[in-house]
């Protein structure tokens, strides 16, 4: 595949002076209009990769291109062609929300009338109207995050890089944000979405890659990634406070414990005995409730990486069987 606006990373490797290999031969491409998810646990090398794209870090080896432009050789072009929302909050303490969006669009080269129109649309689309003229110093983390998103997308580059864009954002406005991400794709912008929130990514991306320990370990559409679990179900148990997780039944193919949440994957034909087992555990007082559902991308992700996504739980994941 080639063409104007195609983003491509070829065998990108980044080794820091202290010897840490943050990226190890990563190759991927994102077409114009495509929303591409970069998933992986904390420290997997996702942010290191995007910092190389935007020209803040230099790869040890490999190529990064956008269309015909070499972004490694020409970091000024990288800044011009790419919009970047970093993981940290944007610095808008002194700015009013709409003012920050407009000024960022103007810095990115947008004309005043067009940028102001786009800014007003984004303020409305993200339901930010009540904070439109409020200074950043008084905004909550979630609202600041949304303003930051609007700042980098009001006059987007050919590639928009969003690093954990929904951090701190409430569930309702997360949905609004994902709609705007899709809209960027509809407008022909390539979107590189960095997240460890697998459930959200599943709904938002066209394709995704899983990065772990600096290496790309899987790539494909969400459906293709889940294909391995076709014919399987997720049986989830909420362990009672102070009780240990129950012994796993033989039909549980794999399982994972996050906090008090025990997730197991079972074959579809084992649904009935799975429900019976769960009800027995609850009756015995070891669990409070259970849920049976279709497997998700998260299950595939856990199997690939051995890590849980950031969707729930307050404890480190512990693999207890499978």
């Amino acid at each position: 595949m080639d063409g104007e606006g195609l983003f491509r990373a070829d065998s990108v490797t980044k080794v820091y002076p202290n010897g840490i290999r943050a990226n190890d031969g990563i190759s991927l491409h994102v077409a114009p209009g495509e929303v591409y998810g970069l998933l992986g646990p904390n420290g997997a090398g996702k942010t290191t990769l995007v910092k190389q794209v935007i020209g803040l870090l230099k790869p040890t080896s490999g190529r990064i291109t956008l269309g015909s432009r070499d972004l490694v050789a020409d970091p000024a072009a990288a800044r011009q062609l790419c919009s970047y929302l970093p993981q940290a909050q944007v610095p808008i303490d002194s700015f009013r929300a709409r003012e920050a969006i407009v000024l960022c669009g103007r810095v990115r080269g947008g004309g005043r009338v067009e940028v102001e129109r786009q800014a007003d649309e984004l303020v409305e689309a993200l339901d930010l109207g009540q904070w439109r003229d409020k200074r950043g110093i008084g905004l909550s983390g979630g609202v600041k995050r949304l303003v930051g998103f609007a700042m980098v997308t009001v006059c987007p580059g050919k590639l928009v890089i969003l690093d954990e864009p929904t951090n701190d954002v409430d569930p309702l406005r997360r949905r609004l944000l994902w709609e705007q991400v899709r809209r960027l794709g509809d407008r022909g912008v390539a979107v590189l979405l960095v997240t460890h929130n697998v459930l959200e990514a599943e709904k938002a991306v066209d394709r995704l890659a899983v990065i772990d320990d600096g290496r790309l370990i899987a790539e494909g559409t969400p459906s293709a990634m889940k294909a391995h679990d076709r014919g399987h179900l997720r049986l989830q148990l909420m362990i009672a406070p102070g009780r240990d997780a129950p012994a796993l039944p033989p039909f549980a193919q794999r399982s994972n414990l996050v906090g008090r949440n025990l997730m197991t994957v079972i074959a579809q034909q084992d649904a009935a005995i799975g429900i019976s087992w769960a009800e027995e555990v609850i009756a015995g007082g070891a669990a409070e409730e259970y849920a049976l559902s279709a497997t998700s991308l998260e299950d595939a992700y856990i199997e690939l990486t051995g890590h849980n996504s950031g969707n729930g739980g307050d404890a480190d994941p512990g693999d207890i069987g499978g």
């Binding site: 114009p32 935007i54 970091p75 970093p86 303490d93 700015f95 080269g109």
Partner: protein, 252 residues
């Protein structure tokens, strides 16, 4: 299709960054200006309070040196502290990712520093002249002298801010430079009052020559070696600019 617009000309980028910097600092600029006034006028008046009677020559050095401190401090202290805070909070990378030529962003910050410092310079001079009943003989050279002094302070500050990646070290370094300027440089006192070795060293440091070129444009017959001082200050500005260019162009 969206996202194909060029980010505009250098001039466009410069004015956008001027607007950005003023908006970004609007909560703090009045405080910064007030601090500079306190620094300059406070020094001029404080010495008078300490000694009661100040000889005319000492008063001239004091009153013409204090505005130099105003011009340097804006760039040398504030920018490293701002960048250190940006690094600490993680917003440095967002600002570095904006499609703005580094030179346009630097010149925008110079503009802001100048606008912040000049009212303090005027107030410091007026206060000192009124307190010590001095007659200044201001020449047109005051314009390049003050512009170059402020520019060099800004470039030194940018060199520290972008060349030193550890925020705490950058802040300590800029604070140390201010102490050197205030206590160990012939800015508000004649060089011959310093120990010989320190006076010699100061011939090659930027602060004394900065004071010389500004003083030479404010009063006649006091400053010597003004052309040489212009050369020294210009060399420091150029060297600092090279460090800034290297630090911002260098990717780990």
């Amino acid at each position: 299709m969206a996202g194909v617009k060029p980010a505009g000309s250098w001039t466009h980028a410069y004015w956008r960054m001027v607007a950005w910097d003023f908006a970004d600092l609007r909560l703090y600029l009045p405080v910064l200006s007030a601090v500079l006034v306190l620094q300059g006028a406070g020094l001029a008046l404080g010495v008078g309070l300490l000694f009661g009677t100040v000889p005319r020559t000492a008063a001239v050095f004091l009153v013409t040196g204090a505005p130099v401190m105003n011009l340097i401090t804006a760039g040398l202290i504030f920018e490293p502290q701002l960048v250190a805070e940006q690094r600490t909070r993680g917003s440095y990378e967002f600002l570095q990712s904006l499609p703005v030529p580094r030179s346009a962003a630097a010149l925008a910050w110079y503009t802001v520093a100048l606008v912040t410092a000049l009212p303090a310079v005027a107030l410091t001079l007026l206060t000192g002249v009124a307190r010590y009943h001095l007659d200044l003989t201001v020449t047109p050279m005051v314009v390049p002298a003050m512009l170059l002094t402020c520019l060099t302070g800004v470039l030194l500050g940018l060199a520290v801010a972008h060349g030193v990646t550890a925020p705490m070290v950058a802040m300590l370094l800029s604070t140390t430079l201010i102490f050197v300027m205030t206590g160990f440089s012939p800015v508000a006192l004649p060089a011959d009052q310093l120990p010989g070795w320190l006076a010699s060293v100061n011939q090659w440091l930027p602060f004394g020559p900065m004071a010389t070129i500004v003083r030479g444009a404010l009063v006649s017959g006091v400053a010597s070696e003004v052309p040489r001082s212009y050369l020294v200050v210009t060399a420091w500005a150029a060297g600092s600019a090279l460090v800034v260019a290297w630090a911002q162009g260098h990717r780990r």
